[in-house]
Amino acid sequence: MRRKGFENAVELVILASAMTAIAGLFLIFIFIGKEALPVFFSPEIRDEAGLSKLFLAQAGPHPFSWQPVSLVPKYSVLTLFAGTLKATLVAIIFAAPLALGAALFTAEFAPDWLKEIIKPVIEILAGIPSIVLGFFALMVMATFVQDAFGTLYRLNALVAGIALGIAVIPVIYTVAEDALSGVPYSYKEASIALGATRWQTASRIVFPAALPGILAACILGFGRCIGETMIVLMASGNAPLMTWILDSPIRTVSATVAAELGEVVVGSGHYHVLFFLGTLLFVFTFAINLFAHWFVKRLQKKILGIT
């Protein structure tokens, strides 16, 4: 009887700790979202920073301009999202081939002793604080990229994107490696028995079988990039430009919130727009993570044969 009571108490404690995480998530969303609401509902704020001002082209020489500290403040949210997207795409294009190649190698080709080295080393990369990566990008990589590609700007989307890419390699690698290792051994045995080489087995059997997991890895990496702050704050140049040019400086959503929220007058239009940006960022990363998890779940079911 007493034992049962103890069991129940422990269960309750564990349940409570699980619930705090969920409650925390909800509270964060509610508090950030609440501060963003005036962008929709307060007539005064809407006048200064309504949705049309945030998303549509404005009159003047710079239709998509982010100048929150100005006689006529300009809040083109679109410019910031374009910046985030540009850095993120560069990062994924840079990181995905490297991370997936490494994952395929460790899962299919590497001898055990080498696997024991490669896996932990890549996972240690995940532990590097992003400020250190940002500092490295600013001091070393920016110069290198400028010398190598002759870019006009020393700090630009390319530099920030590559640094971001380094930060997400472990994310993509870990998930992709799990997906590749999770492919049932019988697939490989069958393939080899039919006379396929190891490369043919890896590239035509294992890789396609793990594809949903690999896509999920890339999506998770994408989500991580969108929210990453320090690296872009330091290496992207933070100039609010919206162009198709790859090596122009950019200003990202996360860096803008980090740089400006400390200063902003509480309750002003600028303040609410920053919270609106935070809410959008939250919703995006949340949706992307949810989607990736759903993908992984589906993959697992498929491979284990549960429908």
Partner: protein
């Protein structure tokens, strides 16, 4: 090396902003425990504040002065919310901010000028340009001039560096040099003066602005108030005499009249020893005449 550490420090300050954003810096809430004085604000003034704190703590044992950066606005926000005793600011406080403090804390803000700063304009060391006037600076920073060849015998495009818009230096430059026009969208904004210096020292095409105290490894150019006037370097005598056109006061703000340890600390700063420190870290002491006139 010195340059690098100060650059790192400014990134740490930026990291702290990030931490505040995500509510991680609960430790910064502790303040004013009897003999602790907290000072928070302007990144430009962090070196100065820290030197004052070090010297003061050496002299008066048992007193702890905590100095942190984050930007003038960050310091003012902390003062508004009662999280710091003194806000350091490199720009005068706005009326709106004063009224918010009055409303929230029921106290009038005290403004105390503590030092003078010249805002220097820096270029890369290989750049031959010697001087610019305010209207040329304005043309550069609003994006009307995009090539160095329009200003000097230097065949490079022009890349403009500046500060983030939470910086007092940004606000000052915008008001006094750009006449409140907007910065060009292609102006790169960096977190901290040290970062601007670092970027300019590595970029041949660059121009940047910031506190004079940080200027190492870059070329500081002379500035004239208009095309007809003589250009002056931001030296001690030129800034003190007002010949150098872009200089400003640096401020301490307290909510209500300061008392106790805060009052003693401020009095020491305004005294001979405190003012001597200004010169040692690359700022300028308050002009004697002006501080007398204020009393």
């Amino acid at each position: 090396m010195k340059n690098k550490t100060s650059a790192l420090r400014s990134y740490l300050a930026a990291a702290r902003i990030g931490a505040v954003v995500f509510g991680l810096s609960s430790f910064s809430g502790a303040y004013a425990a009897g003999n602790t004085v907290t000072v928070k604000g302007s990144d430009t003034m962090v070196i100065l504040g820290q030197r004052w704190a070090e010297d003061y703590m050496k002299k008066f044992k048992g007193i702890v002065i905590q100095v942190t950066g984050g930007g003038s606005g960050t310091g003012i926000a902390a003062l508004t919310n009662g999280l710091t005793d003194i806000a350091q600011s490199s720009r005068p406080m706005k009326e709106k901010e004063k009224s918010v403090i009055l409303e929230k804390r029921k106290k009038h803000v005290e403004e105390i000028p503590v030092a003078v700063d010249g805002i220097a304009v820096y270029v890369h060391q290989s750049n031959p340009i010697e001087k610019l006037d305010i209207s040329q600076l304005k043309a550069v920073y609003t994006g009307r001039v995009k090539k160095w060849s329009a200003l000097a015998d230097f065949k490079e495009p022009l890349i403009i560096y500046g500060r983030e818009n939470n910086s007092g230096t940004y606000a000052y430059f915008k008001e006094h040099v750009l006449g409140n026009e907007d910065f060009a969208p292609e102006a790169l904004s960096l977190p901290g003066t040290a970062a601007v210096i670092n970027a300019v020292s590595k970029d041949k095409k660059a121009i940047g602005y910031g506190g004079i105290a940080y200027a190492h490894g870059v070329k500081v150019i002379k500035v004239a108030s208009d095309a007809k006037s003589q250009a002056y370097a931001p030296s001690l005598e030129n800034v003190m005499s007002g010949k150098y056109p872009i200089s400003r006061s640096l401020f301490f703000y307290t909510a209500g009249k300061s008392d106790g340890e805060v009052k003693k600390f401020i009095a020491w700063i305004l005294g001979k020893e405190g003012q001597k420190v200004c010169g040692e870290v690359g700022y300028y002491p308050l002009p004697v005449l002006r501080s007398k006139a204020r009393k």
